[in-house]
């Protein structure tokens, strides 16, 4: 079935259990799906935009309240909607990273963090993880000292991903922020895989900037996200325009420079806002979701040769598996090669693993019911047995 002449209707989440690592947390809630139907037109939130003509002041729909609620939810002082977490990184890097200034990132920093540094002209310095794939405060301290020795100046910013996209491991952000602040280095916490999924308290983490992704973890349409900060930093990052036209002397009110004025002016903002009451509640169910994930991982580990590359027991739903010595051994002799696994999964109504992957692959079973999680676990074991692997 098509939506239009050449655009196929997307029915993935109506027909399959979808464990795509980047899609699970962004699946819309019922209320968001309804809101999307109503607010699909371009500037749809601007019907009642009044002075001072800025997104975070619109009362109807209640965006002004939503901005305040978001800040409160994250336990930060001020929040703004941004078109994806990456635009939050970009705004912060542009404000704090000068040309050739060193910036600390980590081995697991998302590529868009690097691009934001590149755009600002900064020099990246990476912090490596330990053997357990965790970024430690000690490693951060060592790297700061390295930078200081080499550059004679301190890094202008530190990026730390609370949950990294490669392993789904949870990193000690609070301790890292403490170290960083001992050197007066501002800290940006990338919460793309945590904000909206699990409880996140910006004040407790002690970070200067907390960035979340609407489409990755807040059940919102893409591109959407949130950039939250403290009162002190808000004056810098959300500074308002001062520019004037040289001939006309035009000025631009209280538009925020780093936000390029208004950010999400339609379906993205409303979708995110419609999901928010559910998101605010669902973070308290995170442990249940982690329990289901561990059940699925345990089932995979019961297949001889399978290993989990993420920290285990799992503390997050995003998980990286290594089935080089199990599912991949079958792929070598299978007529469908590595595609047999996704084919067998789809035959059971499951999707989201990269087609062809039988060695190292990721899944995110976030949002499944207990019944669906059990079915997924059992399906992996059945596929293994059917293909001659030992399940113990």
């Amino acid at each position: 079935m098509n939506c239009s002449s050449d655009i196929e209707s997307r029915e993935i989440d109506e027909l399959y259990i979808n464990v795509d690592p980047i899609q699970a947390g962004g699946r819309l809630t019922l209320d968001a799906m309804k809101a999307v139907l109503s607010y699909g037109d371009g500037y749809s939130v601007c019907d009642n935009c009044e002075k001072p003509f800025r997104l975070d002041t619109i009362q109807k729909p209640p965006l002004a309240k939503f901005h305040k609620d978001l800040a409160s939810f994250l336990h930060m002082d001020v929040a703004r909607l941004v078109p994806g977490a990456r635009r939050g990184f970009q705004a912060v890097a542009h404000s704090y990273v000068q040309k050739n200034s060193p910036v600390l990132l980590t081995e697991y920093s998302h590529y868009t963090e690097f691009l934001s540094v590149e755009q600002a002209g900064g020099k990246p310095y990476e912090v490596l993880a330990d053997k357990k794939q965790i970024i430690t405060p000690d490693a951060v301290a060592e790297r700061i000292e390295d930078v200081l020795k080499k550059e004679k100046i301190l890094p202008s910013l530190l990026f730390i991903d609370q949950v990294d996209y490669q392993y789904g491991n949870i990193h000690p952000v609070r301790e890292i922020a403490t170290v960083s602040h001992q050197y007066d280095i501002p800290v940006l916490c990338n919460g793309a895989y945590s904000v909206g999924i699990m409880p996140v308290d910006g004040k407790e983490l002690g970070v200067d900037f907390l960035v979340g992704s609407g489409h990755k973890s807040m059940a919102a349409p893409a591109p959407s996200g949130v950039l939250a900060t403290t009162h002190e930093r808000a004056e810098e990052i959300f500074r308002t325009t001062q520019i004037r036209g040289d001939l006309t002397n035009r000025a631009f009110g209280m538009k925020e420079v780093e936000m390029m004025g208004c950010t999400l002016m339609g379906v993205t903002a409303v979708g995110m806002m419609a999901s928010f009451p559910h998101v605010r509640e669902r973070v308290h169910q995170f442990e249940t979701q982690v329990r289901y994930t561990n059940q699925i991982v345990d089932a995979l580990l019961s297949i001889d040769g399978t290993e989990v590359m993420s920290e285990y027991p799992r503390r997050h739903t995003l998980t990286r598996m290594d089935t080089s010595n199990s599912f991949d051994t079958v792929a070598k002799g299978h007529r469908k090669k590595g595609f047999y696994l996704i084919s067998a999964l789809r035959g059971r109504g499951i999707t989201g693993i990269i087609p062809g992957s039988t060695r190292v692959w990721k899944m995110n079973p976030y949002g499944l019911t207990e019944k669906q999680a059990s079915y997924l676990a059992q399906s992996f074991q059945e596929i293994a047995s059917e293909n001659g692997l030992t399940v113990s």
């Binding site: 989440d13 109506e14 027909l15 399959y16 259990i17 799906m33 139907l37 109504g349």
Partner: protein, 60 residues
């Protein structure tokens, strides 16, 4: 045509979306439990009402 018909269309879309959500909640087998069956029945009754409004407003 009227605001009433427009609202019936939106109400219908929202009701269909509720059915869509039930598909999502029950993948991959779409086997409904008793509560879900009752919910679908109620949705369908409401949908029929909205269709009737649309017919009345747009075709009569």
């Amino acid at each position: 045509m009227s605001k009433r018909a427009v609202e019936a269309v939106f109400q219908g879309l929202f009701l269909f979306t509720e059915i869509r959500q039930i598909f999502r909640d029950t993948v991959p087998d779409h086997v409904l439990d008793q509560d879900q069956r009752i919910k679908v029945e109620k949705i369908l009754v409401k949908l029929e009402k909205q269709l009737a409004i649309i017919k009345e407003e747009m075709l009569q």
